[in-house]
Symmetry: C2
Subunit: 410 residues, 2 copies
């Protein structure tokens, strides 16, 4: 599989105090590759999560949601992640497999089952063979180290063409804290090779309640503002951990002023990771930012942006490097949101395509064609009725997408 | 452009008393082809219509809606249709062009402008050069004949790979009546080559009010139950005319018992036409019927069916002849409708893939693979919560779709 032309190099991520990582080969893939990640918080961590709202949530998602509620996100001790099997749509046997994995991990790290989080990605409808994981635990557990982020990002990949990581430093009350994250996903969600998974760890000391607020808040404009094909997974999981090992003071309110810089940097890390998912979108050759302004509300702007981002006709036009503003107009109209047809404007980068409901007088085919050849594109649409705005990110729809998704199992 | 492998031969359509047709070359295409259709009802016809609900309706759609309301659909005298230019997103100049066309047609047929219907299909955002149509009117008007359905269907094609027609006979009060229809569209809607257009004429005598009820009622499960790419056009138009020339008694209530057979046959004609649009879906190689049962309501079943039909991952799996029931489950889940995960069942044709939330015990990969090689496929999903059901038709998503839509303008 050739690496995406929109690849971002993996950043340097230093150790984060309070977490150790190790990877291994459980054997969910026939070919030689690592497919198992274990994260250990020896002294526990605050935890928060955002999960798929999909009607057919997977067994691991069920597990995390239930136990994060039960423990209120206090003192989480470990995370175990596998690629190659999503353990979704596997009923009670799937839930039992998760319990056995977590029980083994709990024994290994001398904690309660409920303090273990779990995430899976891979084929839907195949029961997780938990023995593949539990057999490897002693060996993987013995290799835990604090400097292993790149390998961790690699081990959770499925059809991803590059490992994804982000790192930032922030200051809390004059004290430096670190935020590191990895994620996987190719195709916003491609449930067969399933799922967006993201794991972010900071050494800041933050209460689980505050952490959950930040996690939910920033997901909205990052992971929930990207779309590759509109298909959501059964397994989507974002887990955020705070080990409290930086020495910075403990913060218990999300709104605490001392968190201002941390909040910015955390949002930056989440945005960086989210955008990497789009850059590795299946078959993607263009990274596209869609901005909608002038909508009746932010929610309305968001729906219009999403309709543009998910329109096959818009996405194929981008693949063809075609500034096809007619298709943008079509997508705006089919969002079924209030718009003023005679005020509608469309801009590709700095170039007006349409203004006030008509082709722009300054429309210049040559300039437009030159712009469309870029790898990173921006479309701005004003719908002329109010002050609602939204931004969303997507990629183009190429023959390669069809190839990847039409030939996967066969 | 190779003809769709799912092509349906054009049926024999006899003359329908009370309507005459002619086609010609207005010249919206550079290459030699007809792109103009004129239909004339010398003694007028009852008319009814269903139009795009798109927020950016085109000038011709605006015209038809306004004048059908104004005349209550009584005594419509003519329809003029062009391919090659949608006259959409063209503001006041576009509306003026439509008026000039209708004025010329009205003069030619000695009627009022409001008695002329109009429909356009082609590139969005390009103003209709009405002189191309009006210059041809005398010549085309002179060639009107009552036996010209096949050529009419041909003249309104854009990226269609075959002309689409349907014919049926019904009995009203012992008297035979005829129903003939043609339509165009390739890609449920591909606004660039834009639009679904359908014109259906019967020689039955039916009041406009009754005709409108039938038109709206049957659109729901026919034209509104198909999707190629989920992209709706600015120009979608279905017009239904009744000339009253068959000699059958005049019917003024849609519920009149004497209409029973007619209603069935009319629905059949609409369904036949609608399904031909899917069979000619851009790049289609499979014709797929999706049935959803066990939903909380019919509306809920419909939303689930549509989500399945429009999922890129489901559609690419069909292209790959892959009985990928995991993707069906994914699509069901992301419809955000009530379902019972542990009762969910999925069937491909007669073969169970999943039952009661798990892979079916009778699942047989070989049988499934053989089934998926067929050109016409059926997927049945039961979501296990109620009695709501719906059927919808779609096609697969192939590389050819991306090719057609990524390389169109360039």
């Amino acid at each position: 599989m050739p690496v995406s032309p929109l690849v971002v190099p993996f950043p340097k991520i230093p150790p984060i105090a309070g977490v150790q990582l190790a990877t291994g080969r459980a054997g969910f893939y026939k070919h030689e590759r690592e497919d198992l990640l274990v994260m250990h918080f020896p002294e526990g961590a605050s935890a928060a999560g955002v999960f798929t709202r999909h009607g057919v949530g997977s067994a691991p998602v069920d597990w995390c949601k239930r136990h994060l509620t039960m423990t209120k996100g206090e003192g989480v001790k470990a995370v175990v992640v596998n690629a190659g099997c999503a353990n979704s749509f596997t009923g009670k046997p799937g839930a039992d497999a998760v319990r056995r994995v977590c029980s083994a991990v709990a024994k290994r790290f001398d904690c309660r089952q409920r303090d273990v989080m779990v995430a899976s990605t891979g084929v839907i409808g195949v029961l997780l063979d938990d023995s593949k994981i539990t057999h490897r635990l002693p060996e993987v557990g013995a290799r835990l180290t604090d400097d292993y982020w790149a390998q961790a990002a690699q081990a959770i990949m499925t059809t991803d063409t590059f490992p994804k990581g982000a790192y930032a430093e922030a200051t809390i009350d004059g004290q430096k804290v670190r935020i590191a994250g990895i994620c996987k996903g190719s195709g916003m969600i491609a449930p067969d090779m399933a799922t967006m998974l993201a794991f972010v760890v900071t050494d800041a000391a933050i209460s689980p309640a505050a952490l959950q607020i930040l996690c939910s808040l920033y997901t909205r404009n990052t992971f929930n503002a990207i779309t590759v094909d509109g298909d959501r997974s059964t397994n989507d999981t974002l887990l955020l951990f705070a080990t409290g090992k930086s020495g910075a003071p403990k913060i218990s309110r999300a709104g605490d002023k001392r968190l201002a810089d941390f909040r910015d940097k955390l949002e930056g890390v989440l945005m960086n990771l989210a955008q990497q998912l789009v850059r590795d979108g299946e078959g993607a050759t263009k990274f596209i930012k869609v901005s909608v302004t002038g909508a009746e509300s932010h929610a309305s702007a968001r729906k219009i942006a999403r309709t543009i981002c998910e329109s096959p006709l818009v996405k194929t036009a981008f693949a063809g490097e075609d500034a096809n503003w007619g298709r943008i107009v079509m997508a705006v109209g089919r969002a079924d949101e209030p718009i003023d047809r005679d005020k509608l404007s469309v801009k590709f980068g700095p170039h007006w395509a349409a203004q006030d409901g008509l082709i722009a007088s300054s429309y210049d085919e040559a300039k437009m064609s030159a712009y469309m050849k870029k790898k990173e594109l921006e479309v701005t649409v004003d719908v002329g009725v109010g002050r609602g705005s939204a931004e969303m990110w997507t990629c183009d729809l190429t023959k390669r997408y069809v190839e990847i998704n039409g030939d996967y199992r066969s």
